[in-house]
């Protein structure tokens, strides 16, 4: 399939995208899907730190066989428009895990777009996204969950929290649930707030400077996204990349 034209914001999945960034990516970039097929009973884990000084688009199409598992953990700290998309199709008893962090300022849009298709019964999925932004930046999580008519005992969860360090930054959560089966669990939650000033003062009263206090609080906040990642080294790499982006953030 060839995409002849650029998407527009009228399309739900591109509603909060940076269309200037999309234009700079160009039509060709939209065609580049990475396919990941995980055979029955096997598992795949991908840890990614994405983002640079140019727009980036990363598109994954994942197919999970029976009882297979795919886990994605992503730090999205681009200096320009950065979008990560994951489409997953789960067979019976498969599991999809997604942990993502968007973090940054500089007026940049960073986003995750997922489409999780529970095509067969007894599959599970869990998505945890944290967004930390300042200086007019935007973090988006557009998460679509589709449960097929016969996909009974599906258990899908989606959790988004945004932390805005100053006015003018924004976070958008768009959960979309399309459920055709009747015996399923689908949970989703989204909250957006500011840094806990009480906690920050408490930390400062114990001797931490404002930047260290903020760093520790942000570390705790985004940590949820990588809890399911067992490899400690990888987890540290993702956290460090996220916290490095925090340098120079509004205090």
């Amino acid at each position: 399939m060839t995409v002849a034209t650029l998407p527009t914001r009228r399309e739900e999945a591109w509603r909060y995208a940076d269309m200037d960034g999309v234009a700079r990516l160009g039509v060709a970039a939209l065609d580049q899907w990475q396919a990941i097929d995980v055979p029955a009973g096997e598992s795949v884990t991908r840890c990614l730190v994405v983002g640079s000084d140019a727009p980036e688009l990363h598109r994954f199409r994942v197919t999970l066989g029976e009882g297979a598992t795919a886990a994605f953990f992503v730090t999205n700290a681009g200096g320009d428009y950065t979008r990560v998309e994951v489409e997953v199709r789960l067979a019976k008893g498969a599991h999809f895990e997604f942990g993502g962090v968007t973090i940054g300022g500089a007026g940049v849009t960073r986003e995750f777009v997922t489409q999780v298709i529970h095509a067969e019964p007894e599959a599970t999925s869990n998505q945890t996204v944290r967004a930390v932004h300042w200086a007019g930046a935007t973090g988006n999580f557009l998460g679509e969950i589709k449960v097929a008519r016969h996909a009974q005992k599906t258990d899908a969860a989606q959790d988004f929290k945004g932390l805005l360090l100053e006015a003018g930054a924004s976070a958008n959560a768009v959960p979309q649930l399309e459920i055709f089966a009747d015996d399923v669990k689908c949970a989703h939650g989204a909250t957006v707030g500011a840094l806990d000033e009480g906690a920050r003062f408490y930390m400062m009263a114990r001797g931490l400077d404002p930047a260290s206090a903020q760093r520790l609080l942000v570390q705790a906040f985004i940590g949820d996204a990588f809890v399911a990642l067992e490899d400690e080294g990888e987890r540290e790499t993702l956290l460090d990349a996220a916290l490095a982006a925090l340098e120079g953030a509004k205090l």
Partner: protein, 247 residues
Amino acid sequence: MLTITDLHASVGDKPILKGLSLHVPAGEIHAIMGPNGAGKSTLTNVLGGKPGYEVTAGSVTFRGEDLLALEPHERAAKGLFLGFQYPVEIPGVSNVQFLREALNAQRKARGDESLSGGEFLKLAKDKAGLLKMDMEMLKRQVNVGFSGGEKKRAEMVQMGILDPAFAVLDETDSGLDIDALRIVGAGINAIMRAPDKAVLLITHYQRLLDVVKPDKVSILAGGRIVETGGPELALRLEAEGYDAVMA
């Protein structure tokens, strides 16, 4: 060690402290008692540098320096410790990580070497033992899921680890049962009763003062210190109430 002179402070537009003066020399445990709304917590927060509390007049000198010119973390590094009436919960941050970072930040500000992980754990274990607190609790998230009494004990463990020269303890006895009160009181004595240290002990009740014997007792009312005396003043307050003593 701490000299407060004619301190006026407001929260929003509301004046709370109205000419408070107080001197606490090294080696002294000074209890502050006072009716609700007298300004006790405001005094604590002003001394700690909490945002939202505006000093409109007066001065506070701490170990020869202008305390009010310092940021909260700089005050801590100079040796000031605030015991919170309501210790804050910090999900996702363990006590061990928090306190090690805080202690090392203070040490760095003072030009001392950082403690290694092992050295810190030994110190933490020692101080937790003083307050009869299990090390497992220190590995948990800061104050999350702690009972009122556990939070207050954890505050004192923090004080032991940070080893301040001066502690302002805001109603550290509230929420404690009788046994916990004795443990916390003994902790305060062990950590802070020294010739080169001092404590401002804010409390409503005599019961803490039975364990932590004050050298001086002051009554704070209407935003000012209205009377200062020895430990007998607290006993009189307990027996007769504020109205009678202040009349």
